[in-house]
């Protein structure tokens, strides 16, 4: 079996978000770039599965849509344990564009399991994985919280309101994964970092696909009014405020 993990290159999650003076872009000066946390969990699980079933899982490929600046992030994925990588040389213009580009490369390749993190920490779109599955015309399972491969059989759970469901699927398929899929991200050891330098990273030019959406402006949220402090000996006032001012109880 071959596993493909789709990665997104995002700003470190503690980054303070600033806008350029014209509000047309996020100011990325000094930003530290990382693998989108959910994609990192997806990759970690893929690596765990390969370690568990070396005879069944032949290789793990990572793929991303991004320009040359994303290569350090791709090398991190290779250092964690992916076997090879593909970079589609384009700015990720919107989810439809990204999913379409990924599909063009993937459609003629025999991956049984395609993993996507459910959300990216920058746009919080939750769209690429499911869009990709439709471009490829394969089944998708979303909100996957558990994925295992045993003797070549794939078992997975997806979250539903109030619990989870065990799902059976045909292959190939796209698993859109969330927390729980791997307990902790795999850490790249020194040996992995060394090996990553020589693992194959193929660059392909993008296909002719249009983006269907475009961000026209950014803004920062209105500053929140400061917290009204109530004395610990005056809880009656808190109850009054919640009832009569906030009207939430």
């Amino acid at each position: 079996m071959k596993i493909l993990v789709c990665l997104s290159n995002v700003p470190d999650t503690t980054t303070k978000i600033r806008l350029t003076p014209d509000n047309q872009s996020i100011d990325v000066t000094g930003v530290q770039w990382i693998i989108n946390p959910w994609d990192e969990l997806a990759l970690s699980r893929a690596i765990e599965l390969k370690e568990k079933n070396p005879a069944v899982i032949e290789k793990i490929t990572v793929i991303t849509v991004g320009n040359k600046e994303t290569e350090p992030t791709i090398r991190k994925a290779l250092a964690m344990g992916a076997d090879d990588a593909v970079r589609i040389n384009a700015e990720p213009r919107d989810a439809y564009f990204v999913a379409g580009q990924l599909a063009e490369v993937i459609k003629n390749q025999p991956y049984e399991i395609i993993l996507c993190g459910i959300e990216s920490s920058d746009h919080n779109g939750c769209t690429v994985g499911a869009m990709l599955s439709e471009f490829l015309e394969v089944p998708s399972v979303s909100s996957v919280s558990f994925l295992d491969v045993e003797n070549g059989n794939v078992s997975l759970n997806r979250e539903v309101d109030g619990g989870y469901e065990k799902i059976q699927t045909s292959l190939p398929f796209v698993a859109i994964v969330q927390k729980g899929i791997a307990l902790e991200p795999k850490i790249a050891a020194m040996r992995g970092i060394m090996a990553a330098r020589t693992k194959p990273l193929q660059v392909v030019e993008p296909a002719n696909i249009e983006a269907l959406t475009e961000v026209t402006a950014y803004e920062l949220p209105a500053a929140k009014a400061s917290c009204k402090m109530i004395g610990a000996d005056n809880i009656a006032q808190l109850v009054d405020l919640l009832r009569n001012e906030a009207k939430v109880i």
Binding site: H123, T127, E134, S140, S170
Partner: protein, 323 residues
Amino acid sequence: MSVLVYIENWDGKFKKLSFELLSYSYGIAKQLNTSVVALSIGNVAEEELKKAGNYGVSKVISVNDTKLNQLVNQAYASVISQVAVKEEASVVVFANNLTGKAVAPRVSVKLKAGMVSGAVALPVSTEPFVVKKKIYTGKAIASVAVKSAIKIITLAQNSFGIAENPAEVTIENLTPVMADKDFATTVIEANKQTGKILLTDAEIVVSGGRGMKGPECWPPIEELAELLGGATACSRPVADEGWRPHYEHVGQTGKIIAPNLYFAFGISGAIQHLGGVSSSKIIVAVNKDKDAPIFEAADYGVVGDVNVVLPELIKLIKEAKGQ
């Protein structure tokens, strides 16, 4: 032309979420000078379907086929797309919940319809069609223009109020065209907790952190939740320590919630925790540390011992309710 809205049912009943979606869709329909068609998939009685009429819907299409009793993403996307084409929908609306996230992107590709997920308000303009959404987990807002003829929007939880607009509604029962190849996934077992209010549905959430000292301190949290008809939740360390079950964990790596009222007892307010609760309408924080970051996110705060403040709060709320 129409605005098509997919409304989900749970055991044949619509939840508050569905009525928010209908109200939102009615708002868009007014902007576009058109009408709302609602689509329901499942076994929903006519009496329940007619409720959509209270929210300005002129037609409800009901699809009821046993093959669709479980969510199968490919099949649902196919049915919803068919109806969108049939009703000449220019906008298709979903909730940004588990189902919306699973199905809407597939519909987007089927219809070549640009998508905005997690919209927080009605479009700011219709020509060009621009909708705002939160990005960077709420640290910024993006105005997104959709350039395609058909637009898809998923609405962020608890971001649009319910508005009643009574209308004459007709019910249409539809048998969609379905292909076997769209049913390549099956549910083999379902495992759901019943009886308690779902954390993601609750309008009031009472949550505790490490400042609560230990699992033995939880009964007042449960009591306050019960008193207010809410759900209980906790921060990540509490779930990791095993004091509370994992499904109660709210935060960036747990559940993201948007209740009307969120109580944070003994929670310091780490960025990852706030990422899960910052869309709450009102946050009340109680913490013994006056410099705890939670007070920057809260609307009301008390610096004090949670194990003293909480019972006092319960007592006073009971009195206020005449108990």
